[in-house]
C-alpha cells in the first residue's frame, strides 16, 4: 500500500499520522491486503456470498413503545460544552442539515 493511500484513509478517519506511523501502517495494511489477494486465488464460483458476519442470525424486532430516556441534565452532563440546552461542538465546515 502506498503512502498516498495511507494518507487518504487517514484523512477519511481524521487521523493525523507521523511519517513513521504512515510507513508502519502502509506495511501492515499492505500485508492484510496481500492476504486478501491470496484468498482470491480460491475458486468461489459455487459459494454464495457472505453479506454479513452474523449470517444466519436475524435481527430481533421490538415493539413501538415510547419510553422516556435520559433527563436532559443527565444527557448534557457528558457534553464537552453546551449552550443552554444544546450540545456545543466545533463546526466541521459543512452547512446545516448536511448529514442525512
Amino acid at each position: 500500500m502506498s503512502i498516498a493511500e495511507v494518507e487518504h484513509v487517514a484523512w477519511l478517519a481524521r487521523l493525523a499520522l507521523t511519517e513513521e506511523e504512515k510507513r508502519v501502517m502502509a506495511e501492515q495494511l499492505g500485508r492484510i491486503l496481500d492476504y486478501m489477494e491470496k484468498l482470491r486465488e480460491l475458486d468461489t464460483e459455487e459459494v454464495p456470498p457472505t453479506f454479513h458476519t452474523l449470517e444466519g442470525m436475524r435481527v430481533p424486532l421490538r415493539g413501538d413503545d415510547p419510553r422516556p430516556g435520559l433527563e436532559r441534565e443527565e444527557a448534557l452532563a457528558a457534553a464537552p460544552d453546551r449552550a443552554d440546552d444544546l450540545f456545543r461542538v466545533p463546526r466541521t465546515g459543512e452547512a446545516e442539515g448536511e448529514g442525512a
Binding site: 452474523l54 419510553r67 444544546l86
Partner: protein
C-alpha cells in the same frame, strides 16, 4: 444518498416535451434529466433503534437516551412498526420487498450524529424496482423508483453566529437523531421541474394514504435532494449536480428551473458543468456551490456488526400487502367511474387523503357527489388557500356541510347566502341552521315582499330602466343587484329576475 449505487446501469428518462414543443423550465434545444432522493419520516411513536419518543417540537435534547446519543456499550434494536411502515411504503410504490436486507454504517464526521456514523442500508436495501405514475397531458407518465431503504434520521445542527460561513460552533439538538426514515430514490426519469413537483405530490399522497408518514414538509418529515443534468435531445447525458436544502414543493420547482438554466448557460458558453453538491438559497433564488468533487464523500459503508440481517417472513409481507388501503390512483378512478366526477376534479380531491376523506364523508350524508365536489373544489379549497391551511385542517364537519347543501337544495338559502354561511361555519364551527336563523338569511320567496323591492328599484333608477328598454340587457343585472341589496341578499334570484322582466317588459321595447 446519491453515493448509493446498486451497480445497475442508470437509464435516463425520455424527453418531456412533445416533439417540437418546449417544456416549461427547460430551455429550447435542451433536455433535463432529473432524479429525486426523498427522505420520509415514518409515523412511529418511538425511534428506530431505541425507545425514545418522536414527538415533534419537544424541548431540545429532551428525547434522547444512551443509544441515540451514541454512548459506549449500547445496542440498537430495530422498531418493528418502522419496518412494517417501510414495507407498506415499498408495496404502495410497487417495489419488490427483499426478504433479506441488512443495516450498514455510513461513516462521517458531521456533528449531527454522535456515533460518527448513521445506520442506513447500502448494497442490500429493503426494497427495489418500484414506480409511481404522474399526470402528463391526458394520460400519465411512469417514474421508476430505484430503491427504498430504511435509515435513522440525524440530529439537528444550528449555528451560533447568523452567518453560516463564519460560525465557529455547531449547536446540537439530538431529539431527531434516530427517528426512522425511508429514503426513496427515483430513477432519473423526470424531465421537467413541473414533473418533479408532481412526483413529490404523488409520493406524499401515497405515503399519507397508507399511513406511513404525515409528510409535513414544514416540520421536515418529508425532505428532498435533487440530482440534475442537461443534454441535447438524443445526446449523451451531461455531468450532474446535486442540489440540497430544497424545503418545499415550490422550492423544488424553482431550484430545478434555476439549476437547469445555469447548466445550459455554462454549456452554451462553451464551459463544462462541474460535478458538485450545491445548496439552494431560497431567499436569493439561486443555487451555490457547497462542495466540489474533490471533497465528495467516501462514507466507507460496512455492515453494522451490532445488527444481524433483517430477515422478513414472506407471509408478513403478504399480510401487509393485503392491509394496504385504496391508493390515490384507484380512488381517483372510482370517483370518475362511480360518482361521475370530472377526472381533473377527482385528481385534485384524491391528491390529499384528508380532502378525499372529507369529500366521501360529506357524500355519505348528502349523496350528490357532483354538488359536493363543486363545493370542495370551490369554497372549501378557497377557504384553505386564503387561510394557508392544509386539508387536514378543514374547520368544518362533513355533516355540517351536508346540512348546508341540503338547505340550498330545499331553497332555504340561496347560493350567495350559502357561501356566507359556509365562511361563518369555518370561522365559528357552528352548524349552518343556527347561523342561518341567527342572521336571518332564509331565502325570501314571498313574492309580495320581493315585489316591493322590485318596484323600489325601478322607481329609484330611471336611467338604468331607460337603458334596459333601449336594449341594454346588462342593465337588468344592476337592477337585480339593487333588489338583492334591499333584501340583504336573501331574495330568491329566480323570482327577482322573473318579476323584473314582468314589470319592465322585453328589452329594446322602449
Amino acid at each position: 444518498m446519491s453515493e448509493v449505487q446498486t451497480g445497475r446501469p442508470v437509464r435516463a428518462g425520455g424527453p418531456a416535451s412533445a416533439p417540437g414543443g418546449v417544456a416549461a423550465g427547460v430551455p429550447a434545444g435542451w433536455e433535463a434529466v432529473i432524479g429525486l432522493e426523498v427522505h420520509v419520516e415514518l409515523s412511529t411513536a418511538s425511534k428506530m433503534f431505541c425507545n425514545c419518543p418522536t414527538r415533534f417540537g419537544a424541548p431540545p435534547n429532551s428525547q434522547v437516551c444512551p443509544v441515540c446519543l451514541g454512548l459506549p456499550g449500547v445496542l440498537p434494536v430495530p422498531n418493528r412498526q418502522a419496518v412494517e411502515l417501510a414495507v407498506r411504503a415499498a408495496l404502495a410504490l410497487n417495489c419488490k420487498v427483499a426478504t433479506y436486507s441488512k443495516f450498514d454504517r455510513k461513516n462521517y464526521f458531521y456533528p449531527d450524529m454522535p456515533k460518527n456514523y448513521q445506520i442506513s442500508q447500502y448494497d442490500l436495501p429493503l426494497a427495489t424496482d418500484g414506480y409511481l405514475e404522474v399526470p402528463e397531458g391526458e394520460g400519465s407518465r411512469r417514474i421508476r423508483i430505484r430503491r427504498l431503504h430504511l435509515e435513522e434520521d440525524t440530529g439537528k445542527s444550528m449555528h451560533a453566529a447568523d452567518d453560516i460561513v463564519t460560525a465557529r460552533y455547531s449547536l446540537l439538538d439530538f431529539n431527531r437523531a434516530g427517528i426512522p426514515l425511508v429514503e426513496i430514490v427515483s430513477e432519473p426519469d423526470i424531465a421537467t421541474p413541473e414533473q418533479a413537483r408532481l412526483y413529490l405530490e404523488k409520493l406524499k399522497a401515497i405515503m399519507q394514504y397508507c399511513g406511513v408518514s404525515d409528510c409535513r414538509m414544514e416540520e421536515g418529515s418529508l425532505r428532498c435532494d435533487i440530482n440534475v443534468s442537461v443534454r441535447r435531445p438524443g445526446g449523451r447525458a451531461g455531468t450532474r449536480t446535486e442540489v440540497k436544502n430544497v424545503n418545499s414543493f415550490r422550492a423544488v420547482e424553482r431550484a430545478l428551473t434555476y439549476e437547469i438554466a445555469r447548466q445550459v448557460e455554462v454549456l452554451e458558453a462553451g464551459g463544462e458543468v462541474e460535478q458538485e453538491t450545491r445548496h439552494w438559497d431560497e431567499g436569493a433564488g439561486c443555487t451555490r456551490t457547497l462542495r466540489t468533487k474533490e471533497y465528495a464523500h467516501d462514507y466507507r459503508y460496512f455492515p453494522d456488526p451490532d445488527l444481524p440481517p433483517l430477515v422478513l417472513d414472506p407471509a408478513w409481507i403478504e399480510e401487509i400487502r393485503r392491509s394496504l388501503p385504496e391508493l390515490p390512483d384507484a380512488r381517483r378512478e372510482r370517483y370518475v367511474r362511480e360518482m361521475g366526477l370530472p377526472p381533473y376534479d377527482a385528481g385534485v380531491i384524491t391528491a390529499s387523503r384528508a380532502l378525499a376523506e372529507f369529500f366521501e364523508e360529506t357524500v355519505r350524508a348528502y349523496p350528490q357527489p357532483k354538488t359536493v365536489s363543486n363545493w370542495v373544489m370551490g369554497e372549501v379549497r378557497r377557504y384553505l388557500n386564503e387561510h394557508g391551511l392544509e386539508p387536514e385542517q378543514i374547520p368544518v364537519r362533513p355533516a355540517d356541510l351536508a346540512d348546508l347543501l341540503a338547505m340550498v337544495e330545499r331553497g332555504t338559502v340561496n347560493m350567495r347566502a350559502a357561501r356566507q354561511v359556509f365562511t361563518e361555519m369555518c370561522e365559528s364551527g357552528r352548524p349552518p341552521a343556527e347561523i342561518v336563523r341567527e342572521r336571518g338569511l332564509e331565502q325570501v320567496s314571498d313574492e309580495s315582499l320581493i315585489e316591493r323591492a322590485v318596484d323600489e328599484a325601478i322607481a329609484g333608477n330611471p336611467a338604468v330602466v331607460a337603458d334596459y328598454r333601449k336594449g341594454k340587457e346588462k342593465a337588468l343585472g344592476f337592477l337585480v343587484g339593487q333588489v338583492m341589496k334591499a333584501t340583504r341578499g336573501r331574495a330568491n334570484p329566480q323570482v327577482v329576475n322573473r318579476l323584473l322582466r314582468e314589470r319592465l317588459g322585453p328589452p329594446g321595447t322602449g
